[in-house]
């Protein structure tokens, strides 16, 4: 187990700068997820930690060593690639044993380690197969096995579940989490899937355009986003965010006024961006629902099973709320929705920063 510290890390490709001096601290045994849209620099950061990309400036420290100039094999890392990167001509056993063989580990020690890891990942029946004869999930497990067998200080995962179908993805997500609980290694995990980020991480680093928008625990990121980007990126369905103007005792969107607690620092007539998660907008179906009520016409209902997503417009602004899975509701209905405005977020319309 090692800590990782990234100090003012910069990456340039010629004149194009893709990382603008980022700082991240990862504690020993911590599961850190780098998340963000395509091109945000998360994979580049991971590849720089791995030693697959050079560092333009700044420092990467693993344990107590600056590893900027160390070769990948000397950094004490193991990596699981998006497309698994298993050696096609080698069997599962040979794939897992390869790094140990190169490190001149004695044959009986190699055999013991490979079989131990095969037991952990339930791979023992596949050891003599080649990757071409494995399913996506099995390949994924072999890729993890190949990483674990090296007993590295740090595991790096580069979007490892993106090639799997939804069901298998959920299953493998749980396996990775269980594995982390068991091995307690430091893990850096890159994904663009915010559900993966929320479920796996001890620490989430949200990136955009080569800078860090926010880093913190999943709770902090979700319930206390630093800005409009983070608020909109994390959460599915995403947070409803719309232009609004501060009004007496609330905010006004078009002709509709929602009564709410206005943050200090803004005055009546000021423009801002108003955000509410769909979880905080509920159908009033007889039960006691907190919040300010408003009557709306339903545009669309999406049945998710335990709940329904209710799409409607509030003075022309599209909004998503939620209803119980058993609620009887359909498009065209006129219903009352309750806005729990105590959970509302306010953002600066100019820079997207949070107004508290």
């Amino acid at each position: 187990m090692s800590n990782i510290a990234i100090r003012n890390l910069v990456k340039r490709y010629g004149a194009i700068q893709v990382l603008h001096g980022i700082d991240i601290d990862m504690q020993p045994g911590q599961f850190t997820v780098l998340v963000g849209p395509s091109g945000c620099g998360k994979s580049t950061t991971l590849r720089m930690i791995a030693g697959l990309e050079s560092v333009s400036s700044g420092e990467i420290i693993i344990g107590d060593r600056v590893v900027n100039d160390l070769r990948p094999k000397d950094r004490g890392i193991a990596m699981v690639f998006q497309n698994y990167a298993l050696y096609p001509a080698k069997t599962v056993y040979q794939n897992m044993a390869f790094s140990l063989k190169l490190a001149r580990v004695p044959a009986d020690e190699i055999d013991k380690r490979v079989r131990d890891v095969a037991d952990i990942l339930e791979l023992h029946e596949l050891l003599e197969r080649k990757p071409g004869a494995l399913s996506g999930g099995q390949r994924q497990r072999v890729a993890m096995g190949r990483a674990i067998v090296r007993n590295p200080e740090v595991f790096l995962f580069d979007e490892p579940l993106s090639n799997l179908d939804a069901k298998l993805r959920g299953q493998m997500r749980a396996e990775i989490k269980l594995l982390h609980q068991r091995l307690k290694n430091t893990i850096v995990y890159v994904t663009h899937d915010q559900v993966e980020a929320m479920t796996l991480a001890d620490q989430i680093v949200v990136m955009r355009g080569g800078v860090i928008e926010q880093q913190g625990t999943p709770d902090e990121i979700f319930h206390d986003p630093a800005n409009e980007f983070v608020a909109g990126f994390m959460g599915s369905p995403p947070m409803n965010i719309a232009d609004a103007v501060v009004d007496k005792g609330g905010i006004r969107m078009g002709e509709s006024v929602l009564a709410c607690q206005i943050p200090s620092g803004v005055a009546e007539g000021d423009s801002l961006r108003f955000g509410m998660r769909p979880d905080d907008i509920h159908l009033c179906d007889g039960s006691v629902v907190p919040g300010v009520r408003s009557r709306v016409i339903v545009d669309l209902v999406e049945q998710l099973g335990t709940e329904k997503l209710v799409h409607f417009k509030l003075d022309g602004v599209p909004v998503i709320g939620k209803a119980d899975g058993r609620a009887v509701i359909q498009a065209g209905d006129s219903v009352e929705m309750a806005f729990d405005t105590e959970q509302a977020f306010f953002f600066n319309p100019d820079n997207g920063g949070r107004i508290r």
């Binding site: 030693g51 697959l52 070769r71 094999k73 050696y87 190949r146 090296r150």
Partner: protein, 293 residues
């Protein structure tokens, strides 16, 4: 019923002209060569004598034939090994991560030997390897040899010189084939190998070679078939000489037919070339069908 059959036969009617031309051009000469090999005094005499397999028996007792067969084996294997070695190294070099413009320049330059005809290649190398040519001049200038070497005229050097020329002429095919193979290897495999602690040679043996294997075998066999039958390069550089030191089956066949006018013996030699080429071709086709499945 008849109409239906006629309709089903339609595509084959369109194939007929092509099949006819190809069949005539291929099968008639093939048949004729085999037929000639069973007669004596063909072409020259209006009424040649049927001798059965006598020509083959004579050929097997002829030391000239065996020496040509041996030279063909040396030339073919030497050339294919040379093509593979140089082609692989150059394919890896031009696949390296360098400036795209430089890469295009190198790729274009290195493919040049392939676009010259064999006659141009042969004449150029004759000039280069001439005792008073550039190669001898250069070797003398740097002190590697004290007096000019007769590269194509010395029996001890002629086959080596031929192999160098053949390698130079033939490597681009291997280079281009391997280059496309190299480009299809996912870079992630090399990155995984980097993390696993592999050096350049480990990566070559454990990633590049296994990934290129299907290409290597097919391309090597194709090269073997072509080189085995290669005629103009040998004929125009050494002419099979000095003496018989670079005589290969193709030059032997040509010499028997058009220098000695022994068309029966030439046909017999040609049939052996045909037979050996057919074996290589079968191997190639088997490999291709295995790759497809």
């Amino acid at each position: 019923m008849i109409l239906k059959l006629l309709r089903q036969a339609t595509p084959y009617w369109f194939l007929l002209p092509g099949l006819f031309i190809l069949g005539t051009l291929l099968s008639v000469p093939l048949y004729k060569v085999i037929e000639y090999s069973l007669y004596d005094n063909v072409i020259i005499e209006p009424d040649p004598t049927f001798v059965g397999l006598q020509n083959y028996a004579d050929m097997l007792g002829d030391s000239g034939y065996w020496s040509a067969l041996f030279n063909t084996a040396v030339f073919t294997i030497g050339s294919v090994v040379g093509h593979l070695l140089v082609g692989t190294i150059l394919a890896m070099l031009v696949n390296a991560d360098i400036h795209p413009k430089a890469r295009t320049v190198f790729r274009s330059l290195l493919i040049l030997p392939w676009i010259f005809t064999a006659v141009v290649v042969a004449l150029n190398w004759q000039l280069l390897l001439n005792p008073f040519g550039v190669v001898n001049y250069a070797l003398q200038s740097i002190g590697l040899v004290s007096e000019p070497l007769d590269w194509l005229g010395d029996p001890d050097l002629a086959m080596w010189s031929l192999l160098i020329i053949s390698t130079w002429r033939g490597y681009p095919f291997i280079m281009v084939s391997f280059l496309s193979g190299l480009q299809s290897i996912p870079s992630e495999l090399y990155e995984a190998a980097d993390i696993d602690g592999a050096n350049f040679f480990h990566k070559f043996w454990h990633v590049t070679v296994p990934q290129l294997k299907p290409v290597i075998y097919g391309v090597a066999l194709l090269d073997l078939i072509w080189t085995f039958q290669l005629f103009p390069l040998v004929w125009l550089t050494t002419g099979g000489g000095p003496g018989r030191s670079t005589e290969v089956l193709s030059t032997l066949t040509y010499r028997l037919a058009f220098v000695d006018f022994e068309f029966s013996r030439a046909s017999t030699a040609a049939v052996t070339i045909l037979g050996i080429s057919a074996i290589f071709t079968m191997l190639y086709l088997i490999n291709e069908s295995r790759n497809r499945t």
